[in-house]
Amino acid sequence: MTNLLVLPLLIPLLTAVAVLLSGRWLWLQRLWSLLGAAALLGATGTVLTVVWTDGIQHTQLGAWPAPFGITLVADVLSAVMLVVLGGMGLAVLVYALGSVDVELENAGFHALYHLLLLGVAGAFLAGDLFNLYVWFEVLLITSFVLLVLGGERAQLKGGVVYVVINLVASLCFLMAIGMLYGLAGTLNLADLAVRLPALDAPGLVTTVAMLFLVAFGIKAAVFPLFFWLPAAYHTPPVAVAALFAGLLTKVGVYALIRVFTLLFTQDVGYTHTLLLGIAGLTMLSGVLGAVAQTDVRRILSFHIVSQIGYMVMGLALFTPLALLGAIFYVVHHIVVKTTLFLVGGIAHRIGGDFELKNLGGLYRARPWLAVLFLVPALSLAGLPPLSGFWAKLIILRAGLEAEAYGAVAVAVAAGLLTLVSMTKIWNEAFWKPRPADRPLAPTTWSMARLIAPVVVLAAVTLTIGLHAEPLVVLAERSATELLTPTAYIEAVLGPEGAPPPTAVIPH
């Protein structure tokens, strides 16, 4: 089954082609799109099962042995992220079918959607840095187009910021790749993990590590590089914003986790202390930004930033428990944040606005919507028995064990302020009386396509909360794999772990 890893790339690509070939037949586009998303979920589920039973999987494309060929690798972390990608891809697509304008669907929405999934899946599977770069660009260019599709004023305004900053991030990434290649003579992740410690140039390696930190930090929206995110994420259609909010920044977090566990671990005292400081400032600045906002989508956008801080904190503490917490947090956050954006979209459909002061009375009028909001909102704030409680608990406990009391204090404070923000949305949109001049839109059967995915995702949050053990076990195993990279290296380079010599570089 060595070709199994190609499936999560092939399915979205073929779906995009099929959608494009469907021309103007919208029903056919939608059918292909749905089938493709369902197939992707199935394929990613299979990848996880195989990785879980048989260990790390890898595919050498074109049968060139590593480190010369293009390598696809799936360890437990990649496989878990892939499954989450598949689930979100399907859920958000169902929501998009009921909410995205027909003009946008005809303008190529479905093809772009699947190409975006392709880019994200590729980033999770990439076994060398240059391919990681290529997959980042695939997801970046499709996210550019999806962000400004429709060409509204707000979209152009946010899109300009998003495009320019992300271009700069990509160039940082590319330069870092060039310098690392100049240092080590290879870009294969496993090969680099062998060669970097043998290089005996910790200063140079740490310099390159900082370039990677900036590049992935912009993608992941950490302090002080996050300003593009709240400027852009509230502008596209809700389905697109939900997918971006859930998945895209987490690709940056995934890349950070990957390089700072596999490659740059020689000067942990410097790099990971820096990460810890960044984590604390990210948590605080995100949550404080959210307190000042009054638009549902802007509040949620700032909360993405603050939650990224918790994940980076898990990485920065660099203990098995902390990494477990970071991975648990990533999965929990993708589900919860996507749900919240989707609920915000339904509230907009019913209440007619994203602005809090124009909303109200939704609890009395639509109690089911209030429940659907409350589950992910309280989960985001970290209240038991929801998934966010366990995610925060693990991170805080890891912080206490590592005696990082400052970071723990910041994390607790950020958690409380998250609750304040969620209470603000609850009070304004659901609890306060409806402004008299704003009638509610009726609930129609056509809204079932919006509500069904939200119900499913809220149920997932609840299930993770009430029965956290399977995800903890998965996260624990991936944390172990990340901290002992020998298994990863042996899986890619062969049992001896010593690669054949690459082309000699004259100095």
């Binding site: 240059f130 770069y133 290529v134 660009e137 970046l140 260019i141 550019f144 187009v145 400004v148 060409g151 004023r153 707000a154 152009l156 305004k157 899109g159 300009v160 910021v161 495009v163 320019v164 271009l167 700069v168 990509s170 160039l171 590319l174 330069m175 790749i177 060039g178 310098m179 290649y181 100049g182 502008t235 638009d295 606005d353 994203f354 602005e355 002061k357 124009n358 001049d437 704003r438 082309a503 000699v504 570089i505 004259p506 100095h507």
Partner: protein, 134 residues
């Protein structure tokens, strides 16, 4: 040669950064182009330039006979050039659309511009109040 190319990459990166700091979207995009060329040069220099035979394996042999040039950086740079071209082309179209919509390319003026146009009579609510800016 390597030193010269490295210095050139540094100059390009510095000029690109300088242009990025301008308060004009067009100049910022020119800066991005220079930066991307700097990054491409870095990739090329990273593989070391040298006078060597082309990396072709003679027929009937498993490896080239003598030292050959490193082909990998060229493959990487070609890929990076194509990707960079696509991204920059998109960015310019976006800048053009932004200019036709907002009439300015100054980021500060863009940030101050309202996200929604003032409501016309047709958009007004039932009580005649305009929709509030979001």
């Amino acid at each position: 040669m390597d030193v010269l190319l490295a210095l050139l990459a540094g100059v390009l990166a510095a000029a690109g950064t300088y242009l990025l700091l301008w308060r004009s979207l067009l100049r910022m995009l020119f800066g991005v182009i220079l930066l991307s060329n700097a990054a491409n040069l870095v990739l090329l220099v990273a593989g070391r330039t040298m006078r060597a035979a082309p990396p072709i394996v003679p027929e009937g042999m498993a490896a080239p006979a003598a030292a050959v040039a490193n082909p990998l950086p060229q493959a990487l740079v070609l890929t990076a050039i194509v990707i960079g071209f696509g991204l920059v082309a998109f960015a310019f179209v976006l800048a053009y659309r932004t200019y036709t919509t907002f009439g300015t390319l100054d980021p500060d003026a863009l940030a101050a511009a309202p996200e929604a146009l003032p409501a016309t009579d047709a958009d007004r609510g039932p009580n005649g109040r305009p929709a509030p800016p979001s």
